[in-house]
Amino acid sequence: MQRDELEDPVSLVRAIANDADRQAFAALFDFYAPRIKGVLVRAGTTPELAEEIAQEALLSVWRKAALFDPARASVATWIFTIARNLRIDHARRGRGVSADTIYKVLSGSDPERPDHRLESAQRDAGVRHALDALTSDQVAVVRLSFYEDKPHAEIAETLGLPLGTVKSRLRLAMTKLREQLEDLT
């Protein structure tokens, strides 16, 4: 089953943390697991592995529900980071240092920056607004590089642009996004 919208995901995660609520889990599973699988397959992961990672990501949501902090990230962003780390860990096949260890650098809160200035839903609305402000050229490179994990050389080939143009366009697009997002995070 797939859902088109998800009512109040923060409450669903809280229901898991506080009441071990299976129905809340099922709702999150139905919404996010197919999306994780879709994103991963488009970025070149096999459907089998993508499904395994989607499963594991949602099980992590259950097990880590109490660690979720809505002041720091939306549920979508939290699940995105869980799936990202699982994808990296699958690629390293158990060797070396876990993605959680590396990305811990982003999970702490900075005392000099007060968190929870905005509710996560407002923040995500702000991100959508910032994405809408990009030109279609910029959206194309952001999409290929950021969502689909394509190397710059491949983007250049796909779009028929010189490598240098791809690099500078990508930087400009990301800088523009960052400027819009600076007040949101």
Binding site: A20, Q55, V105, D124
Partner: protein, 215 residues
Amino acid sequence: MTIRHHPNDATLAAFAAGAMDEGRRLVVATHLDICPACRQAARAFEAVGGVALHDEAAALPLSADARKRALDSIEQDLASGQDLPAEKPAVAQAARQSALSAYPLGAWRWIGPGIYWRPVDLASPDTRVFMLKAAPGTALPDHSHTGIEWTAVLQGAFRHDHGRYGAGDFDEADESVEHNPRVEDGVECICLVAMQGQIRFKSLIGRLLQPFVRI
């Protein structure tokens, strides 16, 4: 500490997206460790990833029994008396350690007058990572690269054509950059470097050093 040189925004976005090999990820994480501004930007790019996931148009259905299997795993968790989700693992409260401290380091080796090199043991070979330590006043031979050379300065400072790089700074050089860094007087300079491809020395002394610099 005033940080003047940061990874560019596309690099921070790629780090947040996980679209980066292990070596470059480690050097960027080392900069983030000391740079609140870049941490904030990287978190903003994570939020872009979250929105992209939420708005994903090409969701793919999982196999029919996937949700049931997940729920079965959960019942097993609960039956085996594993921590309820509400119980916070103690590890979450543990102090953050630098990403670099999680990696095995080789021994310091002399590679040239005033210059020492120490490999960082990565699981993936795509990008090599090493630490460099150079005595105050050392001039590194004029060189170019066939791939990227990303440097996080941990201590001391060096200068080249593009400016001064002190502790906390990040120098993002690619194959188009040709430079001859010189370490400032004062303290020795220690850097963490991610490198792809080959390093090419221009001068005779550099080429004489090449066999020693197996980096």
